[in-house]
Amino acid sequence: MLKVDALCTDYTDAHGRLVHAVQEVSFEVGTGKLFTLLGPSGCGKTTTLRSIAGLERPQAGTIAVDGTVVYSSAQGVFVAPNKRSFGMVFQSYAIWPHMNVFQNAAFPLEVGSRRMTKQAIREKVMRVLHTVGLEELAGREATDLSGGQQQRLALARALAMEPRLLLLDEPLSNLDAKLRERMRFELKRLQHELGLTTVYVTHDQYEALALSHEIAVMNAGRIVQIGTPRDIYERPRDKFVADFVGSTNFIEGTVVASENCAHRYRMQTALGVLLAESASRLTSGDHALLSVRPEDIALTLNVPAGDNVCTGIVRAIVFLGEFLDFQIEAGGQMLLVRCHPTVEVVAGQTVYLQLSPEKCIVVTEPTSRWK
């Protein structure tokens, strides 16, 4: 449906330096899918989204929707944003303060190229306001809305024009934590019901994991990995992805031998010999970096049966309500281990750690110098 190919954007910053904001970004989004661009601030995700919207003009590449090219450097095509009929929800919501709720949502229908009767506009606006649950507030001043209502209104306005593509630029980042969680479900439900092809930009990994069909993790202007949320979380390809999405422990090691099982290798680490998985082929003697999530390390007081077991000393315990975070010193390095709060261990105690082999993932070092 949406096809972005080899998109590049450079600009000179305030100090006159050339910044490669977006480099060789390519991806495809299927009809009705929610695709997320995830990354830290300055990684180029917003620039990519704004290029799709037409609010920014890239240097090179192609953007096509349903086979229609809206931007192509080779063909010299650039369709103005107001001719693309994409709906967009901005980070600030961009609700016009001089209009009421109805007028805000009706605006796209009044200014669009399609002429509509007053009656038709009214029906349509009330329908989208109903969809987002704001029909009661149609006559209210936009400035009297709460943050969550403004967010819904922004969404309603984007939906009113029946967009070919919905673009969401960090739409939840201005809401408080509780509301954000609720809106996350709401968005997912709406997107699913309306079957809208959506591109979503966020720096919040939980949002990305919760909402997306597919995620592209971006760093320093490039896409580092594209995959389903589970893929990204469980099989991060490189150190940056593992570190940025969720929290993780890194363990350095050297490959000793490959196992019978595919992709599984035995390696020597500071914690002893560990079994780990690697997507790429490794040979004995290769240096490798392991990533293992804190919740994939089991903590026990007695020696557990099976592979990948080591001992450690509890240095600190943090109570976080839903779980306990342990700082455990093992093999000369600190490991973060996450357990159910029923586990009863005190600081200074020696414990056994078991790292499940299928969750010990070999990641590559990122090519950029991003830390």
Binding site: N82, A94, W96, P108
Partner: protein
Amino acid sequence: MTTTDTQRRIELKWVIVAVAIAAVAYLALVPLAFLLWESFFTPRSVTRAAEFTLENYRTAYGSLETVRLFVNSLQYATGSALFAFVVGTLLAWMNERTNTPLKTLFFALSLIPLIIPGVLFTVAWIFLGSPKIGILNMLLQRLFETDYVFFNVYSMWGMVWVDGLHYSPMAFLLMTAAFRSMEPALEESAMMCGAGVLQTLWRITLKLAWPAVFATLLILFVRALESFEVPALLGLPVGIHVFTSSIYQAIHEYPSQVGLACAYGVTLLVITTAGIYLQSRLTGRGGRYSTITGKGFRPRVIDLGRWRYLTAAIFVVYFLLIVALPFLVLVWSSLQKFYAPPSLAALQQLTLDPYRFIIAYPPLLPAVMNTLLVAVGSATVIMLITSVICWITVRTKLPGRWLLDMLASVPLVFPGIVLGLALLIFYLNFKVGVYGTLTILFLAYLTRFLPYGMRYNTTSMLQIHRELEESAMMSGSTWSTTFVRILLPLLKPGLIAGWIYIVIVSTRELSTSILLYSPGTEVVSVVIWELWENGQYVELSALGVMFIIGLLTLVLTAQLLGRRFGLREV
């Protein structure tokens, strides 16, 4: 289809930029160029073409007179700036950082002088402080039974006093802004680091306020250099010349010495340009000091204890000097047949004749119409033009935008009288039917107040989140629809505020108009000036009283309206 669309859109933008640059350049640069040209050439006449000459500068700089002129101007501007600054800063500090009683009321009242036209304020102070007829002198002389002249406004000190007093509210406003924008946490964290009150004041507060202090002083200095009314009314009669009054005199001599006036004008322009440049550098760098965040901080208020009655008394005295006395003396004089200082005898002679005279005064009605027409016209055109220009400079990345911004700020360096002079020369040489009409005044006001429109519109444009426009674009709206339906309504509070400000300043304007008016195109301030020249003091006072009341009504209505419009501001 898409390619042509794109090209048309870009071309439209370029057309707008080109038109905007051309219009602004015409307004700002043409007079400047002609001023320079004229200062280096002999006057063109029927028999002789203009020739290159340095004679004007030789005349201007070849005499000791000029050294005195220079010294006088600097002395006057420095004195007036310092006086206004000290008074304004003290009041700003009292208002912002102390618990002086009724300070909010004083805050509102002390802004009134900004509305009173300079010519009226000066005339009022002549009535108060002239050695012969000054009320203050007479009161004190009667009290101490002497002939000693306590006040003489016809002196350098008198000029500094009147001008400094008149512009102290400006210093007050600027320093209030500086005090307000200062993050109290910066001072508090210094205290938490163990610094005492004085150490904090010296090492944090003053260091942070320094750019604001210096910028304020520079603005006041440049403004005093440009001021015309006080030097003309108080300086000229006793031979104290400054640049502005000398330019006026050179033009009004017979034969008029346009070249000489231009040489003075160029000199003055160089000084004011330097001042404005320095000031803009200072405020531009101000961003480095993170005190200016635009956030409203809760001010830290010092409890003055019993001293607060003293500060309240200072406020009262200030209010008397700057509003009550000048206004009352005008009222008094407007109720006399011939000007006489207040006395029991004079009290019996009270009459409304001056009002009857002035209302029936033939030139008045046309002058009022002219004033309204030019003020409202220029304010409207300026606010609309600058809203487009500001959109270009703030929102686009078009290559020409910095030039546009700079050009639109050029008129800031023009003293009113120099701008009048430049336009006079230009339209005398280019006979396009503008000279001697109201259009020349309109063009002059347009040029002179263009930077104010820029300032108001830039401020409000910066406050409008870019995404508000972008979401309109994403909704399918064209550039012009977005501009009319989204931007202009959002700019409205700033547009109205700027419009009112320009209407007020152009209504009071004298120094440009004094060189450009012709019989039939007088504005109210020019009529006041003429009445003064004719010695019709009581009639002048009657007109002045009505003028001030009219301006006050305008401002109060505007504020009420502004509050209503402001409600929807986000």
